[in-house]
Amino acid sequence: SQALASCLLEQLDPSKHSLGYLYLLEAYSSGPILREQASGYLLTVVEFINSCSAEQIRLTPDKFVSVCKSFKDQVMQLQVAIQGVAPLRTAIRKLQTSSEHLTTLHPDFLLLCLLSKCYKAALSILDDDIFEVDQPRDLFLYCYYGGMINIGLKRFHKALECLHNVVTAPMTALNAIAVEAFKKYILVSLIHNGQVPSFPKYTSATAQRNLKNYTQPYIDLANCYVTGKFSELETSIQTNIEKFQADNNLGLVKQVLSSLYKRNIQRLTQTYLTLSLQDIAGAVQLKTPREAEMHVLRMIQDGEIFATINQKDGMVSFHEDPEQYKTCEMIEHIDSSIQRLMGLSKKLSSIDEHISCDPAYLTKISRERQRFDFDDFDSVPHKFLQT
């Protein structure tokens, strides 16, 4: 039947007869694909994705998804993940009903970006805000991979957002994705903020109770970090180094270690106006003033502190943030933020209104209102008052 399908495929035009093409392609994909035909298959799918019509494929999203998934499997099997990046991105754009819509293809796309290390390619998808989700399971994977890509791009605050969403998502049973996400969340929190915040109120009870049981080495690391002593942190890392390696988190852990210096130096800026490199080295537990100079220099270049180094005296002078909030760019930034937030607020109000009109919600509310006399509080129509 595969031969038949491929024969028929040649007869059809993917852009005009997308739906039919899709059915045939799906039938072709559902069987095993032989190695010799693999590259030809890949080409066919790529061409289809690029030329198909979006409205047609949205009529049968399942089949489209199934084709893309087998495409992804093939690409991974042949270890040419990079070939799948652009096509899957196009596929997502065509499948989405809006840019706020999360499809099942999102996590697959991010997976390919990760495997092929094309982090930047994922940016356009990642920067879209997601408000509509098909399958909760997709969200977990999407946010987890998104977190990893952001870590790779060193956008730690965005990574934190993604991982935070995984950890605090509603869940009734603990899943492995949440556990792994929590481990990375701890590490990225330490790098970015210097501490791990406690679970917010809206975290599911399952997560609050169980996540810590599976991530003890990371919690120990976090506790060590907060004390601020470099040697203790190093010891703590050494004791658990196999676990970190097994989780593929060793690179992140090393970043946590180097971030400790940064944090300690930043704390010094709160107390001192000028400080000798010797004293900085002593305060932060570095071995020589030369090392202290390197660290301070790098931090100045990265914009993490504002300071000047006087090499003649071996002194560092710390300055206040020179930002005066008076430039045109800053005003524009503030203005656009305000606009964006107003839009978000409107969205929030409209969703609130929508829920207030939702029949399921009203039924639930009315059940609690039955205590009152109907004549006095007849704002809820009777038909909603059935049990």
Binding site: F131, A169, T271, Y272, L273, Y325, K347
Partner: protein, 448 residues
């Protein structure tokens, strides 16, 4: 002026407490004031400030603290004499054991005396118990109350404090007048202080103060002292200071079974210095006429408070250092000396830097009897704690006051709030969507 290097550079947390008492039992006639002063501790004068069990307990405490034989033996001798006037055979044996025959045959364990006391105790206890049973059968409230009270007194005299406590508490149900209640409360407070159960002390002070008739001034003063002691044990130094400062001069020597008026001055003064701000210090301590009577008894404390207020920090700290060894021998204060001294020192530093835009660290180190690097460490701790708004110029050794730029800070906060709002709302909308899915998946199941 460069600070001497011998000065204390950090918080005074060490427990060095031994005085060089070279004299072996050599009495020196000194006034009572010297007993609490900075000179070598005169044990006899100190002990004469107190009566009852607290005298013995304090003497034993001093004896334990001193490795030096002279003072230790002096304290034990006085304790022995005091105990023999009483009926506590267990404590007697303990003291005799500690003396270990070092003071001669007169101060050895007198087994005959101990046995006689025990016999007397047996008899008295039986008598009291019988009387109590009679009263209980007769159901005369006042007699039952007195019976329990006597039992309480009996146990207290014999050092069985737990039983004493129980019996005093039992009188509560049979108290009919305010006087009875106050008597019961004072007894319970006395026992609780010795037992170290200051929660009870607070409770019963409260009960005593709530009686319908206000008690006489002496009792009021006693209750204030007890309350102050309870707060001090709980490390609530501000409240403790207030209580001690409110104690009227009527206290005099009426509460020596617990506290001496010198103690009121010392505890009150030190707690106030450690916890009050300048206004409160002036109003409640310096201008307080009643408290002045107490302060006269301990001129060092009076001087150091005035020095602190007048910003003569070097002399203030010197007085404190001189007082420290004796204060470490006080059973109530010794745990808190470290904390109080640290707080006073910090307050002094903060007050010193407050009026200036820039401060030369060398001069400041001289004023605080420390060296510049030690001072820098202390300042760093205070700045990190946000008690001082300043920055250290480590190169030139100057402290610069730092006034936050409100406008920039506001902009920063605003932008941060915006970012957080956006992040939280987006996450919330996402979660709402997920919950809707969950609900939609479950709802059909319910209808079916």
């Amino acid at each position: 002026m460069d600070g001497d290097d011998e000065g204390v550079a950090g918080p005074m947390g060490d427990e060095a407490m031994f005085l060089n008492g070279g004299d072996d039992g050599h009495q020196q006639q000194r006034g009572i004031k010297a007993a609490m002063g900075g000179e070598q501790m005169d044990v006899e004068a100190y002990a004469s400030l107190y009566t009852g069990r607290t005298k013995v307990v304090r003497l034993l405490f001093i004896a334990d603290r001193f490795g030096n034989d002279g003072i230790q033996l002096e304290a034990l001798r006085l304790a022995y004499d005091e105990i023999k006037k009483g009926e506590d055979s267990r404590l007697y044996r303990e003291v005799a054991g500690k003396i270990a025959c070092r003071l001669g045959p007169q101060y050895a364990l007198d087994q005959a005396w101990a046995d006689a006391v025990a016999r007397r105790a047996e008899q008295r206890k039986d008598k009291l118990d019988n009387e109590l049973n009679v009263y209980r059968t007769n159901l005369i409230k006042e007699s039952i109350r007195m019976g329990y009270n006597d039992l309480g007194d009996f146990y207290y005299a014999h050092g069985q404090l737990g039983d004493a406590f129980k019996n005093y508490v039992r009188t509560r149900d049979y108290c009919t007048t305010s006087k009875h209640i106050i008597q019961m409360c004072l007894n319970v407070i006395l026992v609780s202080i010795e037992l170290g159960q200051f929660l009870h002390v607070s409770n019963y002070v409260g009960k005593a103060e709530q009686t319908p008739e206000s008690p006489d001034p002496i009792t009021v003063a006693k209750l204030r002292c007890a309350a102050g002691l309870a707060y001090m044990e709980a490390k609530k130094y501000k409240l403790a200071a207030r209580k001690f400062l409110e104690t009227g001069p009527e206290l005099g020597n009426n509460y020596t079974e617990v506290i001496a008026p010198q103690d009121v001055a010392t505890y009150g003064g030190l707690c106030a210095l450690a916890s009050f701000d300048r206004t409160e210090l002036k109003n409640k301590v310096i201008d307080n006429i009643n408290f002045r009577n107490f302060l006269e008894l301990v001129p060092e404390v009076r001087e150091l408070i005035h020095d602190f207020y007048a910003s003569r920090y070097a002399s203030c700290l010197e007085y404190l250092e001189n007082l420290k060894p004796n204060l470490l021998l006080d059973i109530h204060l010794h745990d808190h000396v470290g904390a109080l001294y640290t707080q006073i020192r910090h307050k002094a530093i903060i007050q010193y830097t407050h009026p200036f835009i820039s401060v030369d660290l060398h001069m400041m180190a001289g004023a605080f009897k420390t060296n510049v690097s030690g001072l820098e460490k202390e300042l760093k701790a205070l700045i990190t704690d946000n008690q001082i708004q300043a920055r250290i110029d480590s190169h030139n050794k100057i402290l610069y006051a730092r006034h936050a730029d409100q406008r920039n800070a506001t902009f920063q906060r605003v932008l941060l709030t915006g970012v957080e709002f956006e992040r939280d709302v987006r996450a919330m909308l996402l979660r709402a969507n997920l919950l809707k899915h969950e609900y939609n998946q479950r709802a059909p199941a319910r209808k079916a």
